[in-house]
Symmetry: C3
Subunit: 196 residues, 3 copies
């Protein structure tokens, strides 16, 4: 196939920045600095994190616990219900609204991603979708929640699982790895090439 015959690709230079960021650039830059020093930092304690997040527009209920090293994109698009927890190193990438219900738990290293791209359009436009974790829901460690997804009341997204569709209330989404049939056989001595 010559270059002429190849199908066209996305053209990222035609991407238009349509994201409404919700705050002036100066506020966003200030948040980046404040967040790096006090929210994403290793400093123990929830209180100063909640004070700062509320100062930048987050709605946070009573009794919420927010652990160290948490990364929150836009605090002004975050709602957290009473007695919810956000674990160490969790990343709430909230270009769009994120609603975390009462008594919900977002565990360590979980990633909530509200951004997507229109991958069937050549200009690869940004699409965003709000994420909701309903009351009592649990997003476990290293789990990933995709844009537009709702994790239902009391539902669980287990360790390392990836939710790209809604998880119904009271249900459990689990990662699925597979135990291969072939065993690992060790030859004595050194390598003589890839062992696929």
């Amino acid at each position: 196939m010559t270059e002429e015959q190849l199908p066209p690709t996305a053209q990222l230079d035609r991407f238009s920045r349509t994201l409404v960021r919700g705050r002036p650039v100066a506020v966003e830059l200030l948040w980046i600095v404040i967040s790096t020093l006090f929210v994403k930092s290793i400093l123990p304690g929830s209180l100063h994190r909640k004070v700062l997040l509320r100062l930048f527009g987050a709605k946070i209920g009573p009794g919420v616990i927010i652990k160290p090293c948490v990364n929150i994109k836009f605090p002004w698009r975050l709602t957290v219900g009473a007695h919810a927890w956000i674990g160490e190193n969790a990343w709430i990438d909230n270009l769009d609204e994120v609603f975390i219900g009462a008594n919900a738990c977002i565990s360590q290293s979980a990633y909530l991603c509200t951004g997507n791209h229109d991958w069937s359009a050549q200009n690869f436009d940004l699409l965003t979708g709000a994420i909701t974790v309903e009351d009592g829901g649990w997003v476990a460690a290293r789990a990933v929640i995709g844009p537009g997804v709702t994790v239902g009341r009391n539902a669980i997204v287990s360790i390392g699982a990836v939710a790209t569709e809604d998880v119904p209330s009271g249900r459990i989404l689990a990662a699925s790895s597979v135990l291969l049939d072939k065993p690992r056989i060790l030859r004595p001595g050194a390598s003589n090439g890839p062992s696929k």
Copy 2:
């Protein structure tokens, strides 16, 4: 359904902190500072990491290699056998004991998670389970090991795989992603909405 008819949720305000942390708070805080400066840092070299981990109670055999940016929760609950490796950015979240055997390899960005919650109890109690990677086992890059799991002798948890049950000796657990049937079709021009 009215609010009254909804099933009750977990009540995280009733959670009781039963974790025995194993060291006084002052020691834990000191470890956080020391670890941030010298163990989780980008400084190259294994030797200072091993000296510090041993000082805080870790049992580390001869010839062990520990790379930069490694995150270890409680060094006093870590045992590493001779000639084992711990890769860059690995996270050993050892609320409970973690045993890494001789000649075992924990690769970069792997995550060993010993904490769980009793998700069928309303108070969401903390449950922990020790993790063992037996001699010659390999937890590859970005893999996840859940609480209570044993990775058997010479077993492999491949790149990006999630082990929530024991992996038998000499066996290989692999991540399973799926190639969708529908292709990506690119329209010329701009987005006209989500392309699900």
Copy 3:
């Protein structure tokens, strides 16, 4: 089984460091410092990242966007085509060459891993494999690309997916988690043990 009857394990002390690093140690150390301060840092902006990467040998086309907190192992083994994007917190672990095509997108927290080990050889030799993301390809957030893999023209590795084999042009590889049959039943009151 007595210790004598157990199969032999890998012997990591026999590992030989055969990686040709491509630059003197002093250059690599300088890169680690520069990268930490300016490329892996939270500083907004692409321009200074591109200038520094090119200074250390990367080939980067026009119009490329590189977001904060990006981790690149060896800039001298990186080629990025025109108008490609590299997202926040992406990790390009390029012991071997990484080629990112024009208009390709590597999203936030994606991990490109070029290193492997010969796990059937006792000395666990390092094996590396170049990674290619062809023009218009998209490696979405938190996705993982293994050593030697080619992501074809316009192909997509979706959020959280793990590509250990080539993804054909125009095709979509998706993470596969599974919705369990058993629901989450909440007992009133406290824990009385694990709820597996």
